[in-house]
Amino acid sequence: MRKVFGPLAALTGLMFVASPFIVARAPFESSMGIVSKIFYFHVPSWFAMFTAIAICGGASLIHLFRNNPRADRIAEAAGEIAVVFGLMGLVTGPLWGRKAWGVWWIWDAKLTIALLLEMTFISGIMVRKYGGPGSDKLAAAVGIFGLAVTPFVYEAVNIWRTIHPLTSVVPTLPQRMAVPFWFCVTAYMLLLVVLLMLRVNLGKRQAALDELYLAYED
C-alpha cells in the first residue's frame, strides 16, 4: 500500500496542477462564458462526494451488521472526506450561481437537499466525536441514511422543478468539453483515493493507540 501511495499522490498533484491549463483550452459555454468553467471543478467534487458516500454507506452496513472495526475505520474516513468534497461543491456552486443566476444561493430543491446531505455527514462526525460509547454504530446509521438520500440529490433536478442545470448536461457534452471534464473527474477520484488512504491510516494508528491505553490501564 505504501509503495502505491507516493506515485499516486504525485500523479494526483500533477493532474490538479495541469487541470486549469486543460480547462482553459476547453471552449466556453455559449450563454455563460468564462464562469461556465467552474463546472469542471464543481461537478467532479460532487462525483467524488457521492463516491465517498457510497464507500461510507457500504462500510457502515458491514460494520453495523458484522461489527467489523476495519469497516468502521473506512466508514469514518470516507464520511469525513465526503464532507470535504461536499464543501468544495457547496462553495464552487454559489460562485457559479452568482454570475449565472445573479444570486449566491437559492432555496431550490437541488441546492437545499445537497446542503442537508452535507449537514448529515457533518452530524456523523459530531456523533463520533461527542456520542460516547456506541457512537460508532450511531454514526454507521447516519452513513447509511446519507447513502439513501444521495440518489435524491442527484435526481432532484429531474424530480422537482428547479433552475439548476439538468443531469443530461454531462452525457451530452461535446468532445472538446468532455475530455477536460473527465480529466478533472479522474483527478478528483485519485484525490479521493489518496485522502482515503491517509485517513484510514490515521484511524489505524488511533486504534493502535487505544489498544496501548488499554494495555497501560491493565
Binding site: 454570475k99 485522502l195 491517509l198 490515521l202
Partner: protein, 89 residues
C-alpha cells in the same frame, strides 16, 4: 412706473424659475429598448469567481491534509509516551 415694475417682476420670474425648470427630473421611460449584450460596465467579472473556485479546492485539500498530518503527529507522540511507560512493549 407700473410698466417698469411689471418688467422687473417678469424678468425676476424668468431668472428665478430658470434653475427650477432646469432641475426637473427627466421624463419617465416611455418604452423599453431591447439589446442583445449587457453594457460592459454592468457585467460582473467572471474570472475572479473562477479563480476563487479553483483556489478554494486547493485550500480545502491542503487544510484537510494538514489536519490529518497534525492528528497523526499527536497520535504518534501519545504512542511514544505510552510505550515508555509500558516497559515490555
Amino acid at each position: 412706473m407700473s410698466l417698469r415694475r411689471l418688467l422687473i417682476a417678469l424678468t425676476s420670474f424668468v431668472l428665478l424659475s430658470g434653475p427650477a425648470f432646469a432641475l426637473q427630473p427627466p421624463k419617465g421611460q416611455s418604452e423599453f429598448v431591447p439589446v442583445d449584450t449587457v453594457p460592459l460596465a454592468d457585467q460582473l467579472p467572471a474570472a475572479p469567481l473562477l479563480i476563487t473556485a479553483y483556489a478554494f479546492v486547493w485550500a480545502a485539500t491542503l487544510v484537510y491534509v494538514w489536519s490529518i498530518w497534525r492528528r497523526m503527529n499527536k497520535v504518534e507522540a501519545d504512542m511514544r509516551t505510552l510505550a515508555q511507560k509500558i516497559p515490555h512493549r
